[in-house]
């Protein structure tokens, strides 16, 4: 077996193991944390959800590949055992399934956007400077869809229902989703699906809505305009089916809608915490320093572990 093929199979096997172990760890932690963690910020929840694929990739890139390149002799007659080949195949399968799932979601979203019949020229809505594609639709629609140049889709009915202030703040809410790249994050979730993590994904979605509310609202009257817009769109009809890579103004469940409106009713200016960014940088520098100190011995251990894995 060639050196390169051995390296690729080893990386795939290590990725699979790390991915599954991290996913199970996150699922267990989520179960233990329960409702307390549901109140976390959107970025924290997404970070927790993205930990298994990102951690597994980082592990392979920062440890498995360097350990293989540095410590594995080029000419060796070592063979891959059945367990090693099975793990490597599972790793390749997970990556392939993730890629197919992400591609399907992108294709479905692109088709959805293309199928929306445009009622006329693009027109500016609100003061957010967004060119909104107006859509003729039987049901009220207020979504931002797509990843590369996300499109804001607003139905004629929604335009008729909302007054100018409500429209302005609703557009700002959807544009916040585009700015935070929430659809790209959703694509990441599609590519890294794992059972037992759907509760965490739902919590992230709800937190992302709250974060977009916070970004859209600047004063108490804006909060009431957004609450009113939510209720008008929700009351007009049941939500239309949406593609995976889209964020709708109105949540799909009644409890989520109620929670958002009540939060907007109790809106207060946010207090910024300048120390949190400094804390994050400090933590990152500390973690990198600790890693650098123990990197060489760690590589040896990883290499030994990999040898065990593939025999």
């Amino acid at each position: 077996m060639s050196y390169l093929l051995r390296g690729a199979l080893l990386s795939s096997a290590a990725f699979f193991l790390a991915y599954v172990l991290l996913s199970l760890g996150v699922a267990g932690a989520w179960r233990l944390l329960g409702r307390r963690a549901a109140a976390w910020s959107a970025s924290l929840l997404y970070g927790l959800r993205a930990l298994p694929p990102a951690g597994a990739l980082l592990f392979v890139a920062a440890f498995v590949v360097p350990a293989f390149v540095g410590l594995e002799p080029q000419s060796t007659d070592e063979r891959f055992g059945i367990p090693g080949i099975a793990l490597a195949s599972a790793g390749l399968l997970i990556v392939a399934l993730g890629a197919v799932s992400a591609l399907l979601a992108s294709w479905q979203t692109a088709r959805f956007v293309a199928s929306c019949p445009k009622s006329g020229a693009r027109r500016r809505v609100g003061d957010a400077g967004a060119g909104a594609v107006e859509v003729v639709s039987a049901k009220p629609l207020f979504v931002v869809a797509g990843i590369h140049r996300p499109k804001l889709l607003i139905s004629e009915q929604a335009v008729r229902l909302l007054d100018e202030n409500e429209m302005r703040v609703a557009v700002r809410h959807e544009l916040a989703h585009a700015r935070f790249r929430d659809n790209l994050k959703k694509l990441g979730l599609r590519a890294a699906r794992f059972p037992f993590l759907s509760g965490l994904e739902r919590s992230w979605m709800q937190a992302a809505e709250l974060e977009a509310d916070d970004a859209a609202v600047t004063d108490p009257s804006g909060a009431l305009d957004l609450a009113s817009a939510l209720l008008k769109i929700a009351g007009a009809s049941s939500p239309a089916p949406l593609p995976h890579l889209a964020m709708s103004l109105v949540p799909g469940t009644q409890s989520a809608l109620q929670a958002r409106v009540q939060r907007l009713l109790a809106w207060e200016p946010r207090r910024s915490s300048p120390s949190s960014a400094r804390q994050r940088v400090f933590f990152l520098v500390f973690a990198l320093a600790a890693l650098a100190a123990g990197y060489a011995p760690l590589l040896r251990h990883v290499h030994e572990l990999c040898e065990l894995l593939v025999r």
């Binding site: 108490p220 009431l224 009113s228 209720l231 009351g235 049941s238 409106v261």
Partner: protein
């Protein structure tokens, strides 16, 4: 709706008031008849609510103990909310899906029913938004 009657032998069926009371008790830890009536979310006579709670207790959905302050019973759910809905809905849903020629049809109606927003709740929230708007206006006026 024959499927509801068919499964009556295996699971005690619940009427609208029974379902409403179970829903209210799942939102609070426990309650007496008077507390449930005081929440203004039950539109029934005291004796009707008392009899209905007693029936739910006998059907095994509720636990009860004497209230420390009054002579009335204090009722609470016997099982968690999730177990309750599983017990009430599980088999009926199974039967429904089994008997349907196209199982995706009842599921699509179910999704529509779940995602549709309750008009009464929307109206209540709309009134709350309006009240808050009036408060804001009053505060802005000198």
């Amino acid at each position: 709706m024959g499927w509801i009657r068919q499964s009556a032998g295996r699971h005690p069926q619940l009427g609208p008031l029974e379902t409403r009371l179970l829903g209210l008790l799942s939102q609070r830890r426990d309650a007496t008849v008077r507390e449930l009536l005081g929440s203004a979310q039950v539109d029934a006579a005291y004796t009707t609510v008392m009899t209905t709670l007693d029936r739910l207790y006998k059907k095994g959905f509720l636990d009860r103990s004497p209230d420390a302050l009054s002579r009335a019973f204090r009722y609470r759910l016997k099982q968690g909310e999730r177990d309750l809905y599983r017990a009430v809905l599980g088999n009926d849903l199974h039967d429904l899906l089994q008997t349907a020629a196209d199982p995706s049809l009842p599921v699509s109606f179910l999704v529509d029913a779940v995602t549709e927003h309750d008009p009464a709740l929307l109206e209540e929230l709309r009134r709350a938004v309006e009240r808050k708007r009036q408060q804001l206006r009053r505060r802005k006026q000198p």
